[in-house]
Amino acid sequence: MKRMTPILTLASGTALAAVLFTMSAQAAPPAPAGAGAGAAAPAPAGPEATPEETPEAAASPTGDAPTPGAQPGAPAPPPSAPAASPAPGAAAVDGTWTGRLDGGATIALTVRQGRAVAYVCDGRSLEIWLRGRVTGTKLELSGADGAQLTGTIDGDRVSGEVRVDDKRRAFTATATGGTSPALYRATAADKRVDGGWIVLADGTQVGVVTWNGKPVAAPPLDPAFWTTIVKGVTVTAVPVVPGPEAGA
């Protein structure tokens, strides 16, 4: 029996490794399907609740307590209004799209409240950050060195072109369908590292890190913590969302 214990030690180590490998394989980034379902679920609930409550509120002043009865007219719309209010105009096209440029580079685009940010990256040396606005369904973004992005949002699809210098590249992108960010950026405190990553819906990452002004392929981010180590320096990436300083 005693002679077996080293084998048992090896076996338990192997078993532990197997469990951890399995858990790691399942520790994929938040699946867009789950997020999509979560986002879709409240939507049907809202319309259902509102029609029920409105008749009740209208009928209640006679039957129910009179003091709330005076208010229903006012509070009832607000619950339905927040659900509907992001819809009008520009906010209707909020979302995240990922796709490809002609020539192979990857593009990701995020739109929030009429502001947009896009990142074009080939995973080796090319990276362009673009920021701008959405007017209706028209995208107008610009980036460093005169880079321009124009495009049209058509529901789940975005198509357009990116212009850098005199080169034009058409692109198409499809909605990720989830709320998880697709764009991550990491900047080290000493500014020597500036990394950008596109995290596709299936968890694939495409990234470029600019190290002292030289672009190199980015090491993958650890999706549990959005950290990675670039040449011995730990950097933490944060999701990029279009902010008020869109022009910056």
Partner: protein, 209 residues
């Protein structure tokens, strides 16, 4: 085979259904060992296979960056740094208890030394496994610089050497130097792995802040 059979025909009746297992002694075989001396060759081969397999896996598999989230730590680096340091601590216990088992630390009860040696080894190994899983799965075999290359190679070698040690332990009649040498290699390599990761992290962390 035919020659053997010819040579043996006049000694053994040629029975077709009798398996030809009792062949004459092979003149080219090594002379039988002077005692019940077991071989370290098989453990060495298995250990080498483990080390090469880990390295090949880490090299060929695309690093996913995906890792298990261990609660209570600020990030994957700190998890690994502390687990690795724990393994290094128990490795020192290993060295001390091994010295005690061989009577180099004065009158320590052998049973106590053996108990401490077995359990510190198990704990150290089980602490090292999650670190290795994260390294291999999320980062892969890396050679960005001398440190990462040393760390990657030594990390693969450690698990190979540990496998050799575990497989050698149950073998009776090994030469007396085998276990101390293999154990010493395991300890040295683990220290190398630890120096190129946790200690490096602590010093870098200090400089960065």
């Amino acid at each position: 085979m035919a020659e053997h059979r010819q040579g043996g025909t006049h000694a053994l009746p040629d029975l077709d259904d009798e398996p030809d297992v009792q062949v004459l002694p092979d003149p080219f075989a090594d002379p039988p060992a002077a005692g019940p001396r077991a071989s370290i060759v098989l453990p060495l081969l298995v250990g080498a296979a483990v080390a090469v397999a880990l390295g090949a896996y880490g090299r060929t598999h695309t690093p996913t960056g995906i890792a298990v989230n261990v609660a209570g730590f600020s990030g994957p680096q700190t998890v690994k740094v502390w687990l690795g340091s724990g393994a290094a601590f128990f490795a020192v216990v290993q060295l001390l208890s091994a010295l005690a088992m061989w009577g180099r630390l004065g009158p320590v009860p052998p049973a106590l030394a053996g108990f401490a040696h077995r359990w510190s080894g198990r704990v150290a190994f089980l602490l090292a496994v999650p670190v290795a899983v994260h390294c291999l799965y999320a980062l892969g075999f890396a050679d960005h610089d001398l440190r990462t290359l040393t760390h990657s190679a030594a990390g693969c070698f450690f698990f190979g050497a540990f496998t050799t040690k575990m497989l050698a332990l149950p073998r009776r009649g090994l030469a007396g130097w085998v276990l101390p040498v293999v154990g010493g290699v395991v300890f040295t390599v683990l220290m190398l792995v630890w120096l190129t990761s946790s200690v490096w992290y602590f010093t870098t962390f200090g400089f960065q802040r």
